[in-house]
Every structure is written in C-alpha cells, then in structure tokens.
Symmetry: C2
Subunit: 208 residues, 2 copies
C-alpha cells in the first residue's frame, strides 16, 4: 500500500478526510473480510460497496469488475503477508521459518486460499484482469527465493547439489500445489509438508 | 473408458452401430481436440455437438453443462495418460521416468493444461460438478504415489529420511504448482524440475 497520508508509520487510517490510499485500504480490507467470511462467489460488488458505505459507482470507478477487485484483494494480501512475516529482508533460515508459519496461517482462511487458487488459475488466461499482476508476482517471488537460497548456499547451509533456482521454483510450486490438495482434503498439513521440503534442502533442520 | 463393444483390446471405435461407450469416447476425444486447439473458454457445447454431428440435446443429455463435459474430458485424459505411460503397474523407477515424460508431453498441450488448472481450482468448491471427481482422484493419486515410494524404499532406492506419504503429497503438489508457473512463463521446464525433485529423493539419479 502506498501511504499518502503524510504520517509515516501510521498504523490506522485517519478518522476523517480519507486520502486516496486509505480509502483503497478500507475497500480492500472490507472486501477481504467479506470474502473470508462468505467465500468469493457469494460476495457481490454491491455487497462490498454497501459494507464500505460507498456508492456502487464509486467502487466501480476504482475496480471496474469483480475480477479487478479480487485481484486487488489478493495483491493487498501479498503486501500484508510480507509485512507480517518480514520476508522482504529477513536472513535465509528466518524466511523459511516465516513461510512455514504463513502456511499455518493459511489453514485458518480457507475462503481466501480458495480465492487465490481460483484467480491464479483464471489469470493464466492473458486476457484476465489478474494476468499481469500474477505474471509479475511470479517473477518477483522467484527472484526473492533465488536470493534466499543463494544466501543459504553461501552460508554453507544447503546440502550438496541443491540448485537455488530449482529450489526456488519447487518452493513456489509446493506452496501452490499443497493449497490445492488441502482445499480438497483439510487433513493435508501444508506447513508440515513444506517444512519437510525445506529440511530436505538444509544441512541442519529448521528451528521451531 | 468402459469398453462395451465386446471386442477386448479394440483400439478404435466400431465404424457403425456406436455403443454407448464408443459414443462417449467419440464425444470426449472430439471435445479434447477442440479444447486443445482453441482453449477451454472458446469452445461451446454447440461447437462440440456440431463437431460430433449430434444434436445439442443429445450432448446435453449426457453432459448437462459445459462444466460436466470439461470434467469428463479431464477424467478421460487421466485414463489416457495412465494407459500411455503404464503408470498403473510399472515398477517404481519406471513410474518416475514416465511421469517426467508426461510432464514433457504437457508442455505441448497448453490449452489442456490450462483447462486442468482452471477446473481443479473451480472444483475446490464442493458445489462444482468436478468436485467429487477431483476429490476422489487426489485420494487415488496419493495412494498410488505412496505405494510407489514405499516400493522404492523397500528396494533400498530412497535416501534416508524420505517419508513415502510426504513425498507423495510433494510430488502431486509440484506437478500442479509447476503447471501454474509454466502457464505464466513457458520457460519453466516442468519436466526438468520434477526430475531434480525425484533425484533428490533417490540414491541413484533417474535414467534417461
């Protein structure tokens, strides 16, 4: 989120005089809560506008379609996750632990995980509003993972033969794929399987 | 496909007097070819009926909705893949090699891979026509992989600490997840990354 309120580090939106940035945050936080509670398909643009106490036309001005809104909801979730888990600049082993925690968190927000799975799949069609966001996101996530595994390799933490670029793609694939399996069967423990994978790359198993 | 023609091992449908089984096979093979050529969203029920030279009502009698037809197309694809690669009863290392080949094949049928990704995601909603098929399929695929990795473990082929059930879920997750990455960026080599994963489980790298 681009904070345009002029108060650096402000955790809450201003009580009055919504800036563009905080209005956007309000819409996306509200839409996220509605989707988490009811599921993506059960939430309409009108529901979101009503819950935000804004006119449907004002919502449509920012998000012309529900797919645009859903894409923005998922993009915001990526930002929130990165802030919460500090994955942008933590050292290697810490990032792996935080991502395992993120997988644990996901098991508590089924409707959001399902929305992600559905929109990621739809976005593979290059005419879909989510296409460009996810195409750029997969490149960025890949580069982040490559850097993490390169750092771990330089620190002598990885087993012989682990290729940082391959491990990067495998990590993202595992996270996406385990979510699908979990959506079909909630006994799948996404965090445990991800931790096992990281441990198979590391010389010393992950903490925690 | 349940062959009801009474000629065991017949590779082609009978030239006349379509049985129920061969009529079904004709519809699904035709729909598969149309989807492969044009993409899932560009193919209508009317297109499939016309290409099969049957009335739309006859198609709808068998597949009440396009989602039902798409589910059946993907189910048939699973059967075809299993027959082609003989994954039902090949020994462990052979199955891994064949699955790597299958991942190579997938890179040649983008529209089918995309249809799979989209319908698998939609099917996570338990009201979707594909839900029950994929729920059962994921259990069956998991059991097959567990058996494969247990066999490999007993044969002394696996590295210490590889858990067959975890490896089974990871394999399926990797295949599903790599497909998503490849749909966003065709430079991703699904087969190579899958092979690397298998090699990380095995004491001796895969053949071929």
């Amino acid at each position: 989120m681009v904070d345009t309120t002029g108060s650096p580090g402000a955790a809450e939106p201003p009580a009055r005089g919504h800036s563009r940035g905080s209005a956007r945050e309000h819409i996306l936080a509200t839409a996220t809560a509605l989707i988490a509670a009811r599921g993506m398909d059960a939430v309409t643009m009108a529901d979101v506008a009503a819950a935000c106490a804004i006119a449907p036309s004002a919502l449509e001005h920012q998000y012309p379609s529900k797919e645009d809104l859903l894409t923005a909801v998922l993009a915001r979730r990526d930002e929130v996750t990165e802030r919460k888990h500090g994955t942008a600049d933590a050292p290697g082993r810490r990032i792996l632990t935080e991502i395992v925690r993120h997988a644990e968190d996901n098991a508590g927000v089924r409707n959001i995980v399902q929305a992600f799975a559905m929109i990621v799949a739809r976005g593979t069609d290059d005419t879909h509003p989510a296409h460009d966001y996810f195409q750029v996101r997969y490149v960025a996530v890949h580069e982040q993972w490559v850097r993490t595994f390169l750092d771990l390799k330089e620190a002598g933490e990885l087993r012989d033969g682990v290729d940082p670029a391959v491990a990067a793609r495998q990590t993202t694939a595992l996270m996406d794929g385990l979510q699908i399996q979990w959506l079909y069967d909630e006994r799948v423990d996404m965090a445990a399987d991800l931790r096992c994978f990281f441990d198979s790359l590391l010389l010393r198993p992950l903490e925690g």
